[in-house]
Amino acid sequence: MRRSPFLMLTWSSLKAYFRNRGAIFFSLLVPLMIMGIFGLINFGSSTPSVNIGVVDQAHNQVSSTIITSLKSIKAVKLHTGSLDSEKHELQQGNRDLVAVLPASAGQGSTAITAYYNQGNPQNSQVAIAIMNQFVDRASFAFAGITPALTLDSRPVQSRNLTYVDFLVPGMIALSIMQTGLFGVVFTFVQWKQRGILRRLMATPMLVRDFFFSQLVTRLTTVALQIGVLLAVGYFLLHFHFAGNVLYLLIVGIIGGGIFLAMGLAISGASKSEETAAPIANLVSLPLMFLSGIFFSRSNMPEWLQTVTQYSPLTYVSDALRSISVDGASLWAVRGDLLGIFVWLAIAVVLATRLFKWEVV
């Protein structure tokens, strides 16, 4: 009776994998933990607020009106105090802007002096803009002038995307990368060291059968991870999933192939775990932080955005995000898919060049 070595190897390594409860637990626990922590911190949803310090030297009706109105602005955290103490806070970086309402406020034309924090120009600009607008409006009011133009803003109900909606697809992409890279690197280097590869090579086993059986095993675990992260995101973190799970799996599995091949390349290029782990970290850490996993890449300097848009993890996480949040089709993310396939080709070439079936 002829039996398929490929099927038997796949079945054996799947069994071995799923019996190793500890490994499964940790391969799921780590991404879940990261997702939980970042989901709780909830970076995205907190509206950036500016700290404005007001030094009230007038203590009259005009100055108190100004203070009350400033307090009513949501994006402003208002502090009051003496000139010295507020300036000190400004130097400490606790204020973005300190405005001084002189004693003459409300009597004729008054100059309001504003000190701002040069260390945080973005927030200072916002604070200055708020103060400017405020000063203009206050002047019109005091002078009894009706402004020629007014802004009538109306809220529109959006899909109300939260940080979790940004985070969950990113975390799925991240765990695909980690499983591919580290799963392969550690197992293969260990098998090499323990002589398992050598023992298998002493049988008439085809390298191709072994290679593909490992590919299938890893991609199965990737699919499992996608499922668990998606479920936890959906049921516990209120992830607004609007897409097609099948598309998500397809992109995840093809993307997983990139990192599996990279893992093979790394384990081929390194002789021991001691060298393999740092190389894998050297690849994964920059990708993790530069591919828009935890934070949007739009916060990066322009040049960095340009560079990081070509990262393999950016392609994967962007595609996963479009599919899960915007309900995009595979055709709609074809740009990202093209990037994924190019990287897959590069990684496969690297893997075949670097992975050695040396028996030692």
Partner: protein, 268 residues
């Protein structure tokens, strides 16, 4: 040499009748280091042949070439009638390889592992029968991690028997075992040979080679220094006038140890 044999055009193949292995002028270099320096030897069918030598003598490289795991630079090696340099995969089908590290997929039982190894030879195996041969039926459903040192070695021999090989390669099979387990493994080797298989053994234990091997080859610096039955080599040394400072008594400490602790295997 006009006879045409099934092994093809190799002239050595015509001489391989009655021999499990025929090696002629085998050479392997690693850069400037000559690991195997043009060695020639023959292993008879149903023989237990020992390959002895200090570390770095070239034993492992020689064995790996014969097993089809490593290429050679020069020379010929006919293993089980097949030119291993031309068709290593065909040789792999006819031989069994036991390696020093009996490390396997964690989490699979002995039965499952034997079943998997069988599939690598496109065979469906009677895993229980193989386990019976190496006296491991009680551990059939355990994983390798639960085995004692001797049991691990016996299991690693079991995986080398799934394809009913003509030639079995044993790589330091008793390293790290207690005297009882070593004797147990020697018995296993004898019983495998009695099934009509040839055994090529590498070992650092001279008592092991003396007990088990019909003939031994002593290697150093990539060359074979001598190749004779152990008794012949010992007699040759004595004939040169060699004598030990301390005359061996007819029993040694190992005999005392075994007398006190018995021959029974200690493993649970």
């Amino acid at each position: 040499m006009s006879a045409v044999t099934q092994a093809g055009d190799s002239s050595l193949a015509t001489q391989s009748q009655g021999f499990a292995i025929v090696v002629d002028g085998l050479r392997k270099r690693y850069g400037s280091l000559v690991a195997v320096d043009g060695i020639s030897f023959r292993v008879k069918e149903r023989e237990i042949f020992g390959l002895l030598g200090p570390n770095g003598a070239g034993k492992t490289t020689t064995v790996e070439i014969l097993e089809g795991l490593r290429g050679a630079d020069e020379g010929q090696a006919i293993v089980a009638g097949i030119d291993v340099r031309k068709d290593p995969d065909k040789v792999k089908n006819l031989i069994g390889v036991q390696l020093q590290s009996s490390a396997f997929f964690d989490g699979l039982s002995l039965l499952e592992l034997l079943d998997m190894f069988g599939a690598l030879y496109h065979r469906s195996v009677d895993a229980m029968a193989i386990l019976k041969k190496v006296d491991l039926t009680e551990k059939a459903h355990s994983t390798v991690t639960k085995l004692s040192g001797g049991q691990k070695q016996r299991f690693s021999i079991a995986t080398a028997l799934v394809n009913e090989p003509q030639i079995l390669f044993l790589d330091e099979p008793t390293t790290g075992l207690d005297p009882q387990a070593r004797r147990n493994l020697w018995e296993l080797a004898e019983s495998i040979r009695s099934e009509g298989r040839t055994i090529v053994l590498t070992t650092h234990y001279m008592d092991e080679a003396e007990t088990l091997c019909d003939r031994v080859a002593i290697m150093d610096h990539g060359k074979i220094l001598a190749m004779e039955p152990p008794d012949t080599l010992i007699q040759a040394l004595l004939d040169k006038g060699f004598h030990k400072d301390r005359v061996e008594r007819s029993a040694n400490l190992e005999d005392v140890f075994l007398d006190m602790t018995g021959h029974g295997l200690r493993e649970s």
